[in-house]
């Protein structure tokens, strides 16, 4: 009897292990490893793309761009200084006529798809069709719907002419877009394309395999001759969602490159001689919006109160406190239009240096009462102002974000000591951005805009009267007129002049939004890998993958 029992127990154990083993065998078909000559770089990332569709609703993710940017390669791409540099194109695209706006550019004769077919004007035409087709769930049609025609120049299939219906200032971003391969997408439902793979590539790497939940592997595109070919054999994007595990995996050599969010663990790597940390200020900027609409606090409609608010917040101290270990010297942002590393950056908001004494003076001079006579730590007396009541504001931001929680604590303390109260209203991203922000039922709202080198062209969407994303309900007609003009001004220098003028003259006076700081971005890589540098745009650090050596 005992023998029978033992035998059946062993059989049970072996059976269970066999089942487990059979479950594990499953994904092998997609793994397809291949031996390396030029080496492999494992890029650890925090998010796996849901699919490979690119700028699609629900997938307008940096994680996807990291993989696809070097597959759908552009006429030109942004380098690490955020300047456009030609890649598939012979030269930079040129304006050949201002009215109607007509652009010409030429793909290099070496620009070919990985299946050997040439990249031509037809590919760009097909891409335009994709973006304007209302059935396609693209995330934005801006610029594409302003195009009147796309054609070739003469009989040269490589030379493209794009004619716009309107003066669209950000034309360069549109024509630089990496085109889809016309021969691949012809007659296909684009909402169902590139969900799991991308069959061709015009860039330095091409898609090889995707083991869902684990990794995506891209390999060198041997047909790529339009620019320097990739020296590596392949790059493996490994998805490790847990923050701590990501850093530990990098330390343990499970990956060689990582672009972490600004997190405290970076400080360890700054001291580690086995790793190189490259850091720059990016295009995402933290700011506090002020509500002007009927559901906002009536006090916030008074310019002097908004000016008191910005004067009472020590913005440089906030930036320093948050980033002292991982980005020492990070400056407070003094412009909503440009970032500190851009040549057109003007510190327009520097006119509001931190002064608690001045806040009290401003409020008292407008007849506000009940507050402290001088800045007082642990103050409990809150000002009330004529006709607008007590200066107690609802402060909304996302819950569970340490940096935002700390920012709130600092500015809450600073403002309380001068008689202004902030009441926290934290919530999940889905709730605060989906429900609270569009409702206008808030007083102050802290969040990040993720921009790019040309985001300021459409600043009218944020700050113009009735702007699509002007959730503040802020409206200054004169400012709006200038911002509308910016959107159709072709000269970058002229645009910068207008933007800086508009900001200094109107926005700084109106204080619709308080700029806090531009978020630093990072790339950490093992010293064994040479080449990765931070790119502040959505190109990501693999923008120069051709220079990477492992």
């Amino acid at each position: 009897m005992e023998g029978v029992m033992r035998r059946s127990s062993i059989a049970l154990l072996v059976g269970a292990l066999a089942i487990v083993a059979s479950l594990a065998v499953g994904p092998v078909a997609s793994a397809k490893p291949q031996r390396a000559q030029g080496g492999t770089v494992v890029f650890i990332h925090d998010q796996e793309p849901p699919n490979l569709q690119g700028p699609w609703v629900g997938n307008n993710l940096y994680a996807t761009a990291l993989v696809t940017n070097n597959i759908w390669y552009g006429c030109q791409i942004y380098n690490d200084k955020a300047d456009f540099v030609p890649r598939l194109c012979v030269d930079k695209p040129k304006i050949v006529k201002e009215k109607p706006l007509t652009i010409q550019f030429e793909y290099k004769k070496e620009a070919v798809w990985s299946d050997g077919k040439p990249v031509t004007w037809k590919d760009f035409w097909a891409t335009w069709q994709v973006f304007i087709n209302p059935k396609n769930n693209v995330v934005s049609r801006t610029g594409w719907e302003d195009i009147k025609s796309v054609s070739r120049v003469g009989t040269n299939d490589k030379k493209v002419q794009v004619v716009f219906k309107t003066q669209f200032a950000d034309w360069e971003s549109v024509v630089s877009t990496g085109p889809y391969a016309e021969h691949i997408i012809r007659g296909k439902d684009m909402n169902q394309m590139f969900l799991n793979d991308i069959p061709v590539s015009s860039g330095p790497w091409k898609f090889q395999s995707w083991q869902k939940g684990v990794q995506i592997t891209v390999v060198k595109n041997n047909a790529f001759k339009a620019y320097k070919p990739m020296q590596l054999d392949r790059v493996v994007f490994r998805y490790i969602l847990d923050t701590n595990a990501r850093f530990q995996a990098l330390k343990a050599g499970e990956g060689q490159v990582m672009e972490p969010q600004p997190q405290l663990q970076i400080a360890d790597f700054l001291k580690d001689k086995n790793f190189v940390v490259d850091q720059k200020v990016g295009y995402a900027w933290e700011h506090i919006d002020i509500q002007f609409g009927p559901k906002g606090h009536p006090a916030l409609k008074q310019p002097y109160i908004r000016q008191a608010l910005i004067t009472g917040i020590n913005r440089p101290q906030v930036a320093a406190a948050l980033y002292k270990d991982i980005a020492p010297g990070l400056p407070a942002l003094q412009s909503h239009m440009f970032k500190p590393f851009e040549k057109d950056y003007r510190p327009n908001w520097k006119v509001y240096p931190f002064s608690q004494k001045k806040v009290i003076e401003i409020l008292k001079s407008h007849g506000c009462t009940g507050g402290p006579d001088k800045p007082t730590p642990n103050n409990q007396n809150i000002f009330s102002c004529p006709g607008v009541g007590k200066l107690s504001f609802r402060f909304v931001t996302t819950a569970g974000n340490q940096l935002r929680a700390l920012t709130f604590e600092i500015i809450q303390r600073q403002l309380k000591s001068v008689g202004i109260e902030l009441v926290p209203r934290f919530g999940t991203g889905g709730f605060v951005f989906g429900t609270v922000l569009p409702s206008g039922d808030w007083d102050l709202f802290m969040f990040t805009w993720v921009g790019g080198p040309t985001s300021n062209i459409t600043a009218k969407d944020f700050y113009g009267c009735g702007g699509d994303q002007n959730y503040m309900n802020y409206c200054n007609r004169k400012l709006t007129n200038i911002l509308n003009k910016v959107a159709v001004t072709l000269s970058a220098d002229e645009r910068a002049k207008l933007l800086n003028e508009a900001e200094a003259k109107y926005m700084v006076k109106d204080v619709p939004s308080i700029p806090m700081y531009a978020r630093p971005i990072y790339v950490i890589h093992s010293v064994k890998v040479k080449g990765p540098v931070v790119n502040p745009t959505q190109e990501g650090s693999p923008w120069n993958v051709s220079d990477w050596v492992a």
Binding site: A16, A24, N51, G213, V450, D461, Q469
Partner: protein
């Protein structure tokens, strides 16, 4: 018995429907707007946003939305994710297989080790081993899974930094080059060592306590005394009369625990970034997409119900005194 099973399944279906509605309500209302990230995307196509809201019935009442979900779940294998239109079932099946690997191995090993510890502790009550096992059990039950996972990772990294050898991988299900066939299985096993260890600690602690208590009860019972009085060898008394009967309570505990774990060892899978049911659930919740969350819930709840039923049935089979009428 059959009547009992049918009745249990009927009750369970009602519970399942009620749970599905409540969870749908909580996720759809509590997690906020799934379109929220798009609302703060510059240059977003607003007409497109509205179209998606319309297509996915986001502007309808919660009852209508729930109705559409039920239809999708029944006729379209749980349908697709809200924004990316990704079919849910293939993903769910994939993560379920991964979780099964983790849970089956860890539970199997935990049960074997716990039985050995429990039986030996009971037979050597108040010995040094018994005290040590008791201490371990309390420590195991009191140690948070996330902390243990983190500590193991830190330890492995330190060993790597000292020796240059990575004894276990830190995260994920396999390496960048997992190989084929048996090497893939071995690579997967290597990656599961740490998560399995973490999961096993709490299970061993719990099961060994059960086994010890159950064994103690049995060895002091009349029929065991009778067996001894009949002159049976101590080994026969222990294995044939005491051990088999002592296993009965453990079987039900393991079955219930196993059913729960199939929903994903959420913390373990998160700490080790394992593409399993738990991580799937957390990701779905983060995107405020009720559809994958609902699919996860249905699978998990059904598993728990089935394993509860199995536990009850097993109890009836193993213990002839129990009758389901």
């Amino acid at each position: 018995m059959l009547t009992y099973i049918v009745r249990r399944l009927l009750y369970s279906s009602v519970v399942l429907v009620a749970a599905s509605f409540l969870v749908f309500l909580f996720v759809a209302k509590g997690a906020g707007d799934p379109l929220a990230p798009l609302r703060i995307t510059p240059r977003i196509d607003k007409a497109g946003l509205e179209r998606i809201a319309e297509e996915k019935h986001l502007n309808d009442s919660i009852f209508v939305r729930y109705g559409y979900w039920v239809k999708d779940a029944v006729t379209n294998q749980f349908g697709t994710t809200l924004l990316t239109n990704k079919p849910i079932l293939p993903d769910l099946w994939r993560v379920m297989k991964n979780t099964l690997q983790l849970v089956v191995v860890s539970e199997l090993l935990a049960v074997l080790i716990a039985i050995a510890i429990g039986v030996y502790s009971a037979l050597r009550q108040y010995s040094f081993f018994d005290y040590a096992a008791t201490t371990f059990s309390f420590l195991g039950l009191a140690t948070p899974v996330f902390w243990l996972g983190l500590m193991l990772q830190v330890l492995v990294v330190q060993i790597y930094l000292w020796t240059g050898h990575r004894i276990f991988p830190i995260a994920n299900l396999n390496s960048a080059d997992p190989g084929h066939g048996i090497s893939f299985v071995l690579d997967r096993a290597h990656h599961l060592v740490m998560p399995v260890m973490v999961l096993m600690v709490a299970s061993i602690a719990q099961y060994s306590r059960f086994m010890r208590a159950s064994m103690l009860e049995v060895v002091n019972s009349d029929y065991v005394r009778t067996a001894r009085a009949k002159g049976l060898l101590e080994r026969q008394v222990t294995m044939r009369h005491a051990f088999r009967n002592a296993l009965i309570p453990l079987v039900t505990v393991v079955a219930l625990n196993f059913g729960g774990l199939l929903g994903g060892a959420i913390v373990t899978e998160t700490v080790f970034s394992l593409d399993g049911m738990g991580l799937y659930f957390i990701n779905a919740l983060n995107t405020a997409d009720p559809y994958p969350v609902m699919a996860w819930l249905m699978v998990t709840a059904s598993t728990i119900i089935v394993f509860n039923l199995i536990a009850d049935i097993l109890y009836g089979i193993l213990d002839p005194r129990v009758r389901y009428d």
